[in-house]
Symmetry: C2
Subunit: 317 residues, 2 copies
């Protein structure tokens, strides 16, 4: 039996590896959405390019592979109605995302934003008192204990931090690196304990504006929030208000709302905000990781086996 | 029996805590070196202020406590000749030093120097290819597996890095976090393996210029060196030469030679060098930690017990 899958132009080397790994699958290259649309009628599977128009044009589609871990833009209703298998790239970026969160936390705890500016000014100055202090013994709240959250917990434990977390799947085993796990909807109860908050939940209708005025009011005024998930999980106006009123100490943001952050947005200039341009998933290894995932899923697909990284269509992540 | 110890002006609260903790010891406050010198003839112990002149003026001196972990400036010959107990602040700064080294490593691996500048320019740009990549699986060479080195190894292990180390005391047990430990003089043999080098050796006559042209030539051109120990362990001209010739990828320096780094020094402006002003030991906890150490050592001293953190007078650290 032979199958067809649309893929973006991954380069000759990568395409050749895919073709060798999964000879039962014909990989059709689309340079853009329009080309994907013209190829849609004949395919069984697609990697990225999944719009409502494409779904409508692809009557035989059985599998959609997303390039990203966050999939809030995908047409869930239609995927669910047609029973299309939907897989994301969760885990592919996990280690980098956790590294990036620890980079935010350490940058703040070691004063790097202040000291970078001092270096630019050739100024050998030294500030002895800085609130965050030793990470040892401080409490990190990981909001969303999925793959990234667990990678982060492992890293934080190496610093002898106290790690607590929220998760939706309370039935899953608690990693040894985490002291206590709370239900997803217990966020307000645990926020007051946190010296550091790491936002690792997916964006859904439920998590949009999960951090708003009430949440910032509950945080320690010495606490920092960090976000590598999606910008809209934090209400930007509420965040700026909390920073202006010194309700929290600062924020490390790899994602923003709006995104990209417009040039004239006031968030750029907060001294206690580090902004990185959705760079937490970047790594020379990411391409290799996702290629391995696609190879494996394509091999499973042609053999009729369950795919890895299936998105919960009802939960929308 | 009553003893006398010179201390700097630690503030009323701290002095009061010391006096309560060690009633057998009279703590004499010196505002500066000159005052310390006039108090010297009558004292048994001194915290910091230890110059050759002071030693000569203090015939009854039996114990010197240093404020720092690095003690290369102390008058070893005289201390050794007179059998004066010499204790340093090793361990007091360990956790912060290890945090600082990881801050350097993560800042480079997550491109923070580039992205800080992008933030200053309000520029949402994104560089997808950056050499360091995932820390997972990369090799960290810890040159000097003392307290700081072991704290660093624990942190690096949380990132699934491969950790190797040099140490002088090969007879001591190898921590589980370290894959292999090599002799202090095997540096050149292990440098070619390292993606990251963390300098954690004390400054002695032997370690001065430990990193010079030959060492940089042995490093990977994708490797970074980080230093929180003492500036003179790295030869600055050789470092700049290695950076200019792209023999190494960059450097994170909390200590420099000369130090403070003069305003017009070319090292300030290297894009792939992060300079922090000997700030790695700074922490709101450091004062508390060293106070606890002094309390404990003073209690041991008045009871004639062995002190903590004794410096090896023969090894000079």
């Amino acid at each position: 039996m032979s199958y067809k899958m649309i893929v973006p132009d991954l380069g000759e080397d990568t395409l050749s590896r895919l073709r060798t790994a999964v000879p039962e699958m014909t990989f059709l290259v689309a340079q853009n959405k329009e080309e994907a649309l013209t190829l849609a009628p004949e395919v069984d599977a697609i990697y990225t390019f999944c719009t409502p128009e494409l779904l409508a044009a692809a009557p035989n589609l059985k599998w959609v592979q997303a390039l990203s871990a966050g999939v809030e833009r995908y047409p869930f209703d239609e995927l669910e109605k047609r029973g299309i298998i939907f897989t994301n790239a969760s885990g592919v970026y996990g280690a980098h995302l956790a590294d990036h969160l620890m980079a935010f936390i350490l940058a703040f705890s070691r004063q790097l934003p202040v000291l970078f500016q001092a270096q630019q000014a050739h100024d050998w100055k030294s500030r002895k008192t800085y609130p965050p202090g030793d990470l040892r013994g401080q409490t990190l709240l990981i909001d969303g204990l999925g793959g990234t959250g667990q990678d982060l917990a492992q890293r934080a434990k190496g610093f002898d931090m106290r790690v607590i977390a929220t998760r939706r799947h309370l039935d899953r085993p608690k990693p040894d690196t985490v002291e206590a796990v709370y239900a997803h909807d217990q966020l307000r109860n645990v926020l007051p304990e946190a010296d550091w908050v790491a936002v690792c939940v997916p964006l859904t209708d439920e998590t949009r504006d999960r951090y708003h005025n009430a949440e910032f009011a509950l945080m320690k005024n010495t606490a920092y929030i960090t976000n590598i998930a999606r910008g809209k999980i934090i209400n930007t106006d509420a965040l700026m208000n909390a920073l202006d009123n010194k309700q929290i100490a600062g924020a490390g943001l790899d994602v923003t709302d709006p995104e990209p952050l417009p040039t004239d947005h006031p968030l750029w200039d907060y001294e206690n905000v580090i902004i990185t341009p959705h760079a937490s998933g970047h790594s020379p290894n990411a391409d290799e990781n996702i290629l391995n995932l696609i190879c494996e899923n394509a091999q499973r697909f042609v053999k009729g086996k369950p795919l890895k990284n299936q998105v919960h269509l009802n939960l929308r992540y």
